[in-house]
């Protein structure tokens, strides 16, 4: 179709300054789209960090619990009630609450941290702690600390790695840090400590032991979670909610994306990036078509079809998409590396997200090209004489 002369590319190359402006504009748009989408992705991925480390098939929670960190309590007896159902193997009651952590070095610095408590002999805790750590939290006033929490909690990690004994005041009571686990931060959570149910109640002496925040249910092998869920739901009162693992995660992600403005802001940012890019590419291609109207009319008079000219403009838009995407991706990658280091959020450019943004860039350029093409319709070959 293009013969041996790549006219679109040659036309772009002929006006170097315009090409540079176009590539810069698209690069900017690509960075914007990448960053916004990736932060949105990180929002979802980080929101369910704890949801995915525990080992359970069904989760029980209060209907008033919107998201994990602000959990409401429900009667522990509801969870034990579930044990009577066929197919249920075990249950794990979990206590959870934001508590105040005082920086062990800079003691004037207090910060909220998520405290999680459960019976170390229960099975639902899964891979979170090692068997040694499970033993350690049975000892009074010992907790396990999240290695990937924010730096503001103090140099706990460095001190433990150096073999020092670290203790910190949590809710004005001194606890010893008996080890570390790996989970990380999210938009609603800066760090965490895990301990036994008894230690948890030492932290919060006013808490009623029989009111729990979450209940994790393990099923016998081969049981269908949906089916068991339906059976339990039909039999217990509506003062608790029962969710499958996936529903539990979706519930949390939906809260952050839909109920809070955060998810909306990132989606909006990505759309703005797309629109900015769209306008830039349209402006560039429109000016390009405008400048070449006479040449295009000449080509039509020589016998070139409208389809040929359309392909020239589309060729230009694809070239712009590729040339703008590559530097945009590189810069976005650097931004992610930098931001992941300082926020401890899961910011990582995956092949999937790169392909996704590239597709968006291509669509953006192609749509701009299509809009610029409307000008081309007006090219009348009879006008060149």
């Amino acid at each position: 179709m293009f013969g041996s002369i790549p006219l679109g590319w040659l036309q772009l190359k002929h006006q170097k300054l315009r090409l540079f402006a176009a590539i810069t504009g698209i690069t900017f748009a690509v960075i914007l789209i990448f960053v916004q989408l990736e932060f949105r992705e990180a929002l979802s991925a980080s929101a369910v960090r704890y949801h995915s480390v525990f080992d359970y098939d069904l989760a029980m929670l209060s209907p008033k619990t919107d998201f994990m960190v602000s959990s409401k309590q429900f009667p522990r007896s509801r969870l034990y009630q579930v044990l009577g159902f066929e197919g249920v193997e075990s249950v794990t009651p979990v206590y959870m609450r934001l508590v105040s952590w005082r920086n062990p070095v800079d003691r004037s610095n207090a910060r909220n941290i998520l405290a999680i408590g459960f019976d170390p002999t229960d099975s639902g805790v899964g891979r979170l702690l090692t068997p040694e750590q499970l033993e350690a939290i049975k000892i009074p006033d010992q907790v396990i600390f999240d290695r990937l929490g924010r730096n503001e909690y103090g140099p706990v990690r460095a001190m433990l790695d150096a073999g020092e004994e670290v203790s910190a005041e949590i809710n004005d009571r001194r606890f010893t840090i008996a080890g570390m686990y790996n989970v990380g931060t999210s938009f609603g959570l800066d760090g965490g400590v895990v301990t036994s149910d008894l230690n948890f109640l030492r932290l919060l002496p006013t808490r009623n032991k029989s009111a729990i925040d979450f209940g994790f249910i393990n099923l016998e092998p081969g049981q269908d979670a949906k089916e068991v869920q339906a059976r339990i739901r039909a039999a217990i009162p509506g003062d608790v909610r029962l969710m499958t693992r996936q529903e539990f995660m979706d519930h949390e992600v939906a809260y952050w994306n839909k109920t809070t403005p955060i998810g909306y802001i990132f989606a909006f940012g990505a759309i703005m990036g797309l629109i900015v890019g769209l306008i830039i590419v349209y402006q560039i291609l429109f000016a390009d078509v405008q400048d070449h109207l006479r040449e295009y009319a000449t080509l039509k008079a020589m016998g070139y079809t409208h389809g040929y000219l359309r392909n020239v403009v589309l060729q230009e838009s694809v070239i712009l998409a590729v040339l703008g995407f590559l530097p945009g991706m590189t810069v976005a990658h650097l931004v992610f590396t930098q931001a992941a280091g300082s926020t401890r959020l899961p910011l990582e450019m995956t092949l999937q997200s790169a392909l996704g943004v590239f597709t968006l860039t291509l669509i953006m350029c192609a749509v701009s090209g299509m809009m610029a093409l409307r000008k081309l319709k007006s090219v009348d070959p009879a006008e060149v004489f």
Binding site: G3, S4, I5, L7, L10, Q11, K13, H14, R294, E295, T298, L299, K300, A301, M302, G303, Y304, T305, P381, A382, V384, F385
Partner: protein
């Protein structure tokens, strides 16, 4: 009508616009142009020349009558067929219309690849055509690096690379100086003869009329033969002169034609000769520049029509004062471009002899 002629028009009319704004541009045009012939199409601006050319060039579809180009009927033709005909025509535009982002070679290649010729097979032909138009050394330069005449020649190379059977040229010399204009026209003539193409050349340029096998004159959308055009033009001129000075109209006509004859004596009219003519005619007869332009064009047409300079019916009455003014003015025109050529001297003597006055001052 010869059905083998590359260009054959019959009863062609064309109208622009609709309703109250409707304006008919062409009326019952009949033209047949045989292969190997060069036809020059002249006429004042707005006479419909360009419209006629775009009809033949398949850039518009004809409305009334029959337009046959290369055997294809273009009346009510589909866009697809129009495009097919366009691909077989060589266009030479008023301005070169080269693509700025391509080299001269690539510009010519753009025309060649329309015929589906791979560059591997066609590049030698491109180089040969560029060599032929004198751009062999400039093949890989960009249009911005060439002069106006070189660009126009590149445009010709592009039009001719596929050896088209029909060549259409719209004012190919309009943007060129005298010498480049001449070169370009000679080139079109040579190449057209070599390839046996039918050529239509639209022009205002009197300097290049001599290359034509025949001249067609278009006026207000009507095709006229040259002699019709000349006689109509002459009566218009006499009317015009009578308005200025009823008593000496025929003297002024003779005077103006005589001046033109001297100016054209050596086949080229320089700008200084034109300026001098304007000045003299303005002084003697209060003619404005566009009227002088009209008279000059008319006298050139007369020359082409071989109708001589004896149009005014009565031989003018020369008194002594007029005789002197007449001869002095002829010499002034001859001297206007700085040197008096032998042809100019011969022409002055011939005129003086015809009117029975002495050519010496």
């Amino acid at each position: 009508m010869d059905s083998n002629a590359p260009i054959a028009l019959q009863n062609v009319s064309y109208t622009f616009g609709k309703g109250a704004l409707q304006k008919q541009i062409l009326f019952d045009i009949d033209v047949v142009i045989e292969a190997g012939k060069i036809v020059i199409l002249t006429g004042p601006s707005g006479s419909g020349k360009t419209t006629l050319l775009t009809l033949i060039g398949a850039l518009r579809s004809a409305q009334e009558g029959s337009v046959k180009v290369l055997g294809m009927e273009l009346n009510a033709a589909r866009e697809k067929d129009l495009i097919k005909v366009r691909q077989q025509i060589g266009y030479i535009f008023q301005t070169h219309n080269l693509l700025d982002c391509l080299t001269i070679h690539q510009n010519v290649q753009m025309a060649q690849q329309l015929n589906g010729i791979k560059h591997r097979d066609g590049k030698e032909r491109i180089s040969a055509v560029l060599e032929r138009v004198g751009l062999g050394e400039h093949e890989h330069k960009y249009p911005s690096q060439l002069s106006g005449g070189q660009k126009q020649r590149a445009g010709i190379a592009r039009a001719l690379v596929n050896r088209p059977s029909v060549i259409l040229a719209d004012e190919p010399t309009a943007s060129l100086d005298k010498q480049s204009g001449r070169d370009v026209v000679d080139l079109i003539q040579d190449l057209a003869r070599e390839d046996g193409a039918a050529v239509i050349l639209v022009t205002h340029d009197n300097r290049i009329l001599d290359v034509a096998d025949s001249i067609l004159h278009l006026e207000d959308g009507h095709m006229k033969s040259l002699s019709e055009a000349v006689s109509e033009g002459t009566s218009r001129m006499l009317n015009l002169l009578e308005k200025h000075d009823p008593d000496s109209a025929s003297y002024l006509a003779t005077f103006a034609f005589a001046l033109s004859r001297v100016a054209y004596a050596d086949s080229v009219v320089t700008d200084s000769e034109r300026d001098k003519m304007r000045e003299i005619l303005h002084e003697v007869a209060k003619l404005d520049p566009s009227e002088v332009e009209f008279i000059m064009e008319l006298s050139m047409m007369q020359k082409r029509a071989h109708s001589g300079l004896n149009t005014p019916a009565n031989s003018p009455d020369f008194d002594r004062e007029r005789r002197e003014q007449f001869i002095n003015s002829l010499h002034a025109i001859a001297e206007a471009d700085g040197n008096v050529s032998a042809e100019e001297v011969v022409e002055i003597q011939a005129i003086a002899h015809e009117f029975g006055v002495s050519s010496s001052r």
